[in-house]
């Protein structure tokens, strides 16, 4: 190992040790290492097996599940469990998992890779498998738009990688066009599928290859479904691993993959199912028996779970953690509300749009299908936070009964006015705002 790389390694480990001592996990050690040796990743000796996961949503959950399956099957895994997925974070965790000669001491490296930074990370080492879950309108204040993200991820793909792709997402599936050996996962027709796109917008309307109109046999959600271009013939590729059934009966939920591998799950949200399917496909790709993969995944409860149950005075409720600047994630939370037959209320909190950067951009509120809330009986709707006025206009123009709507500038004001509801309260908000409500309510065990 060259002296510069060795120095970077030592500094990274030392800073990481200090950060841990003070109870702080961050990507700062990697930042220092990269300053000392910009191509530090090229100096590491990595195990033969490596898997990277990228895409808009579900990276952390998929990586966590793949790590669980691998560890459960005897693999020693190095992965960025802290979720620092930009190049500094990747350097931090890989150097942390290395010995002083720069050899990563694990059987496999598992990597959550930020979709914008994968091109920088993979310049120096190529994961054997690259999983791409989905490409949505997500954090467009940073990510521009999905087609730009596709072009940026494209710069991170090399011939020696095997792609593991969501076949049901046209933009993702297009990475595999004319590429031998690509592995696809997807879902067969499911009970909750729709014959038309229900979103405010339709990112699957036109072919990503030729821009001519596409036709869908069915939609699982948003632009995810079985598609075919009527002009150039680009279509949903043949699936190697398929979600074939979802069941949720008498409080017992399960999904079935490839008609035979039943996995008990906490809930059957389609989002979650795709993450499990991605984990299943990645784990079987490296050679673990599908029965063993299914058994490992069965009953696994995510540490990075996005649901919290709570009590607020007399009111019982559930927080559905969504992502601001990501209409698809909000749409899925709205599906949960609409699918609940109980008497219910909804609170939407948009106070700080991001916890990482400042922006006042609330344009994404107009991409969310709030109109769908009209399909169910809602008791009260609370619109809360700095952007309550933007929300109020959006809900008004969605045609939602204004007598049900209450608007509050602060979460505390809203909480004071919904602590005595005889309806179940769903709170939909993002990481950046969740503590504002969780610090007021009493959390309960998930039931």
């Amino acid at each position: 190992m060259k002296i510069r790389a060795f120095t970077a390694l030592v500094v990274c480990k030392a800073v990481r040790g200090l950060a841990k001592l003070f109870g702080r996990g961050s990507s700062l050690p990697g930042k220092y290492a990269l300053k000392i040796c910009p191509d530090i990743l090229a100096h590491l000796e990595l195990p033969e097996l490596s898997i990277a996961v990228t895409g808009s949503n579900g990276k952390t959950s998929s990586v966590e599940m793949i790590a669980h399956v691998l560890q459960n099957n005897g693999y020693k895994v190095a992965y960025n469990k802290e979720g620092s997925n930009q190049i500094e974070g990747v350097v931090t965790f890989l150097l942390g998992a290395s010995n002083m000669k720069g050899k990563v001491l694990s059987d496999i490296v598992l990597l959550e890779a930020d979709e914008r930074y994968a091109r920088h990370t993979f310049k120096y080492f190529h994961p054997k498998y690259l999983v791409i879950n989905n490409l949505y309108r997500d954090q467009m204040t940073r990510n521009g738009h999905p087609e730009w993200i596709k072009s940026i991820i494209g710069q991170a793909i090399y011939d020696d990688m095997t792609l593991i792709l969501n076949a049901d997402d046209p933009l993702v599936a297009s990475f595999g066009k004319d590429r031998e050996g690509t592995i696809y996962f997807g879902a067969r027709i499911l009970p909750g599928d729709k014959l038309r796109n229900e979103g405010v917008y339709d990112d699957g309307k036109y072919c990503p290859i030729c821009k001519k109109p596409m036709k869908y046999e069915y939609y699982h959600y948003n632009h995810i479904g079985k598609f075919k271009c009527l002009h150039c013939g680009f279509s949903r590729p043949k699936i190697d691993h398929a979600l074939t059934e979802t069941k949720d009966e008498n409080g017992k939920a399960s999904i079935t993959i490839d008609d035979k591998y039943e996995i008990s799950v906490f809930f059957t949200g389609i989002y979650h199912c795709y993450n499990i399917l991605a984990a299943f496909t990645a784990a079987t790709a490296i050679g673990i028996e599908p029965e063993k993969v299914a058994s490992s995944l069965s009953g696994y409860v995510l540490k990075s779970g996005r649901i919290s149950d709570f009590t607020l005075g007399k009111t019982q409720g559930r927080l559905l953690l969504s992502k601001h600047e990501n209409s698809v994630s909000y749409d899925r939370s709205i599906d949960v509300v609409v699918g609940d037959s109980r008497k219910k209320s909804v609170m939407i909190i948009v106070d700080a749009i991001s916890r990482k950067y400042y922006t006042s951009d609330s344009s994404w509120l107009w991409d969310i299908n709030f109109e769908k809330l009209k399909e169910t009986e809602i008791d009260k709707i609370f619109l809360v936070g700095q952007y309550c006025d933007d929300l109020a206009v959006r809900f008004d123009l969605a045609g939602i009964d204004q007598d049900k709507v209450q608007v509050y500038e602060t979460v505390q004001e809203a909480a004071d006015n919904c602590n005595n509801l005889d309806s179940y309260l769903y709170v939909i908000t993002c990481f950046s705002d969740k503590e504002k409500i969780l610090s007021i309510v009493t959390r309960r065990e998930l039931t």
Partner: protein, 244 residues
Amino acid sequence: MTVKILYLYADFMNLYGDNGNVRIMQRRLEDQGFNVVIENSTVYDDDIDFDADFVYMGSGYESNRNLALAHLSRFKGSLLRAVVNGVPMLFTGNSYDLLGKGITTADGTFLEGLGIFNYSFKEQLEKRYTGDVVLEEVATKDRFVGFVNRAGIPDSTEDMCCDAIKVIGNVPITKDAARVHNLLGISLIGPVLLKNPNLAEFFVSAICNRKGIEYKEIFYPRSTRSHEKTLKALLETDAGKKAR
């Protein structure tokens, strides 16, 4: 009385909740007593009927925008006639680029614009220019707030009517937006008319005027508060501190 909104390429150029502008115009026009009809056009239509009371176009992928430009160029004559006749029109985000002389795309190709204004843009695909901005119209001192998300920056700012008086993020612009007759092009993305009620009022009153109807002043307090809160936040936020 019926008014027609022509939404250009509604399914192709609607990347950032741009549909909100059409919804806001619909509501405000209904509040004036109009019956509102919305006509969407696509890039595969054989014709575009510019006989409308309001024309809107939003943002899209650069590849979509280029196809929209090629399509719209076929109907340039009708579009120009409508502009000269004072049809109120709003082009937001990167659709405003195509009103100028042209766009040099990332691969160096020059796409000829509609030539209504003399500015031009140059694009790249390595990074995005994104950020919150406050624009101030030089002639009126009106301020507009919003977000910019684009691949190109102007290589000529001729005819641009606003100064960028505050930029938070990576948007290397000093000028933006252009007006002629009742046409406005502006870089801001999304529901610009929500956060800038003065623009919504301008378009609605112009439509009333063209229809020979007296414009009723109606106060939209949520929209006004959204503008004031955003303007205050943007002016007070440290521009360099929290870049994306």
